[in-house]
Symmetry: C2
Subunit: 332 residues, 2 copies
Amino acid sequence: MQSRTTLSGMSKVLNLSISTVSKSLSDSSEISKLTKKRVQDFALQCNYIPNSFAASLRKGYTNTIGLIIPNILNPFYANVLLGIEKYLDKNDYKLITSISNESRHKESRSLKNLTSGYVDGLIICASRETEVMSRYNDVMTLIEQDTPVVMFDRTSERINCDKVVINDYKISFDATEYLIKKRGCKNIIMTSQISKLGHGKLRAEGFKAALKKYNISHESRILALDDPHELKHKLTDLIKNDPNIDGIFAANEMAVIQSTSVSNLLTLNNLNKNIVIVGFCSQLQSEYNPSLIAINQHPEKIGIETAKLILKRIKSENKENYITRTVSANII
Amino acid sequence: MQSRTTLSGMSKVLNLSISTVSKSLSDSSEISKLTKKRVQDFALQCNYIPNSFAASLRKGYTNTIGLIIPNILNPFYANVLLGIEKYLDKNDYKLITSISNESRHKESRSLKNLTSGYVDGLIICASRETEVMSRYNDVMTLIEQDTPVVMFDRTSERINCDKVVINDYKISFDATEYLIKKRGCKNIIMTSQISKLGHGKLRAEGFKAALKKYNISHESRILALDDPHELKHKLTDLIKNDPNIDGIFAANEMAVIQSTSVSNLLTLNNLNKNIVIVGFCSQLQSEYNPSLIAINQHPEKIGIETAKLILKRIKSENKENYITRTVSANII
DNA sequence: CTGAAAGCGCTAACAT
DNA sequence: ATGTTAGCGCTTTCAG
């Protein structure tokens, strides 16, 4: 921080008190038009930038929301971020984003940083580690201390706060049914890298329920591997061994990408006719590969909803009646 | 901001002065081991989180760097961000990121926000608007006021600051030559959505120079359209009208995606044999499409270099000897 | 080893 | 319409 123009600096030059300068800049009605103009012009001239630290310290709030997401390379989270920013921006709030990189430790540090005065409230999507280990102590402590918190995507019943989720079970059921009914698939498998996460489990449940409805066994129909390359290899083997596979339900973006990649490669080598793939992924992927059927989770909308909830919570003072909002995904 | 445990609060309970508490928490040698332990334990117990605003206000620096990038959905910028974060993290600096969404106006506001006390220095990649209009006033003003600034990717000679760029001209030349020499392409076109940006121009120059070297005319060999859909359509037409096209050099990620998509579609419909595509894109795209030849810009490395430069600049006090570091891209 | 006090830049209640 | 003053929570110099 370099030394910069301050209120006191300007007040000296202008021969006015600090408070007069301050009030002039906030366009207070207490100050005469003339003085206000004089001050404002001068401030502009010396490129005055108010020190928001000082203001926040004094005011007791920052008009800033903190966001913690696990991974910025995942377009889902990137789009959620955009939705949040858009809404906050409109409402004169700023956003500070931290990326946990799926690490509990990094998440914990970010949480500390953000809450150390920076933000009025937090929007959180738990890191993989946090959710797999179900170690939510940090967030819970914050909530106990009355920090407004909204969680999305990866949440837990154990935590008492506002939440935004999607209809994981139903859309997975629908997507699987779509493969069966609309595309005539008889031999469907599911690929997933999120089998250990709550929403990943829901998606598997939806998948299984759909198979069950059509009397298809779901024995060894789910290929769940966290590592993308492992997933790719096992999937290749699986399809080579069972040329009847005609449909894939992919439970997350990377699973979609790997599944498509495998399918394309096999088709290219005439090892399999075209497999129909439906899965959770961003518009971009589906645009890129026209044969892919995308499940749109409406990440921007999720972002907007979380942002709405956090502002509402901040304004309400109320620590009760936590809301869980469900954004409906749909098949494109 | 909720009211939280403060130094003064704890000092009362512990029957110590504020300064003793403060010193204990920073493990000062002035304080007895016993007292330190007592204070530290108590602080932990009441979940004390220091108010970093107050500390920064007092200390005059924040240990925080601001980052402004044009677009978070572009994996290039997302990866640069990761590199920056990684390096800063190691050096106990925090990062605040703002996304300009390619808008000059948004960029300008972010600049104001970040410099209003939040950050010790800034890493900036100009928005498209800013660069196309060549309106760098905001950044220039900041630099004049001695705010440490590092720019990357999209920069301008007119701005006096540290910079990190890639070898746009050379790698574009090499990539084009690769198509000609290694892949035997005779009829190459270039696709670009960044023809109006400095690095986009350099890439076009490299492309043209390579064609020239092999005595290939570059007349109407460059398809430059900002809008992805337009690019897609024109490219489709172009290839349909000229079935001899056998190579594409794509100047940016989205151009790669659109080019690949068009090529795949045409191949599928037997309207063209396979076209070789080489272009600037992320690992993910190249993994997704094995036939694609990716130019890796090493975004994480770029991030690390910018971060190094900004910390160096902050520490040096010196306002001279600005460095431009070039990170070499390579063909995978 | 511990404490008192000043001050970072700003806001806002309270004079004048 | 303008000025005085206290204080947000913290660090740091200086005294004891």
